[in-house]
Symmetry: C2
Subunit: 103 residues, 2 copies
């Protein structure tokens, strides 16, 4: 049993090659093999967004605070709000951004 | 891109063979193969606890609210609080419970 206490993992700034604007990444976990999953708390300031990118094993978003916009490839832009859970299937290009105006 | 909206997934009561006391399980996600990960929001009322159990691929807890107690096999009982992240490696017996007295 390994406990990572609140505050024991350093926050980092989302790197410019992955994000536009101010993004904070707070690591949560990276399960060792044979698990292949990791998770982080990612906080977007208004106007921040990801670059278009892919996830070879897919990605799940769980919205905890605020509201934002997500899109996959050329699909519709969808608004997301706290409690929404978003699944991106593997390998297709996705992007996300918070709403510019808080609701 | 699949969006499960807040409120669209039914809560369930934690089954008696897995839990003692009142536990609510709110499903979040179950990623399809080749992913092998799933997540849920599990809420323990005071005094509730899990039965001893195992996780073949391990389990990560992310404490969001309250405080509780966790133990693995005959190891120490550890108190956990919001923001703590707990990793249980695969297959060993674990249990967890909230603290009886809110802090």
């Amino acid at each position: 049993m390994e406990i990572k206490r609140n505050g024991s993992q350093l926050s980092s700034k989302g790197p410019a090659e992955w994000f536009t604007g101010t993004v904070r990444v707070d690591p949560l976990f990276n399960a060792p093999a044979p698990a292949r999953v990791g998770g982080a708390l990612v906080t977007f300031e208004p106007g921040a967004r990801t670059a278009w990118h892919t996830h070879p094993l897919g990605q799940t978003l769980i919205v905890t605070v605020g509201s934002g916009l997500v899109q996959r490839n050329c699909g519709p832009i969808e608004e997301i709000r706290p409690g929404d859970v978003i699944w991106f299937a593997p390998t297709r290009s996705i992007g996300m951004a918070p709403r510019l105006q808080p609701q």
